[in-house]
Symmetry: C2
Subunit: 195 residues, 2 copies
DNA sequence: GGTTAAACAGACAGTTCTGTCTATTCGTGT
DNA sequence: ACACGAATAGACAGAACTGTCTGTTTAACC
């Protein structure tokens, strides 16, 4: 039951925005009664938070599954292939977290607290991937790629998936510059003209 | 009168979102009567469109004024200083256009049509600046910087202005790579081993 | 001074929204 | 058979929203 409500909310909230969709629409979509919703979630804000939580869980497992078979050193670049695939999926409507943050002004809102967490998680992943590539200046490079990631998603909303490809290209250039320009931190090896 | 209404709408819409702010709030803020608003704007959607139009006009003139004294060849990078200053301004709440696009699902909404125009304008500026720097692969570089620009703004909403600085750094690296890696387009004329 | 356009205050209709509450039904385990 | 937890339908309150309309006031112009 909770799942049915959450999935209905997920579809509607993502397609139209949390503010544009009322409780009644969610109930109709889930074919559920109002009391069920309020007994499970307490109030709409908590339903929104549950929606965000759900999206976060999906994103994390999707990303983890995507990078798993990729050699750690290539993940920082290849994650942009994941972005391209995402923005090209048929009902892509932007990043649900970016949209919630835009709609909900209060940074203390439960949904925004979750979004902030996810943000930390994503930055940690980029840091990890960049370090795995054995590049110097890892922190700087990781946050630069994070910004590129954000830009790829938001720009694709208006401009289509070509922006995600542009971001991938830029990420490649940055990584190339970091690898070629200066020495790598670990292992002597010689610099591999990656991608 | 129209201006007073528009400025009130601008303040409230930008601070809280166009959907969160009702007509009555705008009227109270402008100390105006309802009839005034509806005779000037017709309906709320048109007020939202006027708000977007206003923000676009501000952005264009602000950007133009900012780059005017900067040598054309440096503008593609220095525009990121403008972004840093913007996201550090005290009541920065993200990009008003990105937020409206997130709120308004219908791409045919008057406000979204205006936003799409502004998008073209901005991309054209980046192309112009990159070309002025005399770099090869201008289109690719321009759209990459555009994505970086978008990412700088959206990422700064959650992470603060350091992301705008990260974007500036990344832009510098990309421009350096484009300038150093291969020949510049003008003058020398030797064959460029592209990509 | 009289005309006219614009702004004013605010009532009003009609809808939508969140959240509460009552009363009923269903299914399961004992 | 029975009890109990969970879901159901839906009325209801109270607020907020958009948009319309009426009647009044203000101010500029001839």
């Amino acid at each position: 039951m909770r799942d049915r409500l959450l999935e209905a909310a997920d579809r509607l909230f993502y397609a139209e925005g949390t503010r544009a969709v009322g409780i009644d629409r969610v109930l109709a979509e889930a074919e559920a009664a109002k009391a069920s919703l309020y007994s499970h979630f307490g109030c709409k804000d908590e339903l929104v938070a549950a929606y965000v939580q759900h999206r976060i869980a999906l994103a994390r497992s999707s990303i983890e599954a995507f990078v798993a078979p990729i050699p750690p050193g290539e993940r920082a670049l290849r994650i942009f292939d994941w972005v391209v695939a995402w923005v090209e999926s048929p009902d892509f409507m932007g990043c649900p977290l970016q949209r919630v943050v835009g709609e909900v002004v209060d940074a203390g809102h439960p949904a925004r607290v979750l979004a902030a967490d996810q943000r930390d998680w994503l930055r940690a992943r980029f840091t990890e991937w960049v370090k795995a590539a054995g590049l110097a200046n890892a922190q700087q490079l990781a946050t630069a790629l994070l910004v590129l990631f954000d830009g790829a998603v938001i720009a694709s909303v208006q401009d289509g998936s070509r922006r995600a490809r542009d971001a991938r290209w830029a990420a490649g250039e940055l990584l190339k510059a970091a690898a070629g320009g200066r020495a790598e931190t670990r292992a002597p090896k010689l610099r591999k003209p990656k991608q």
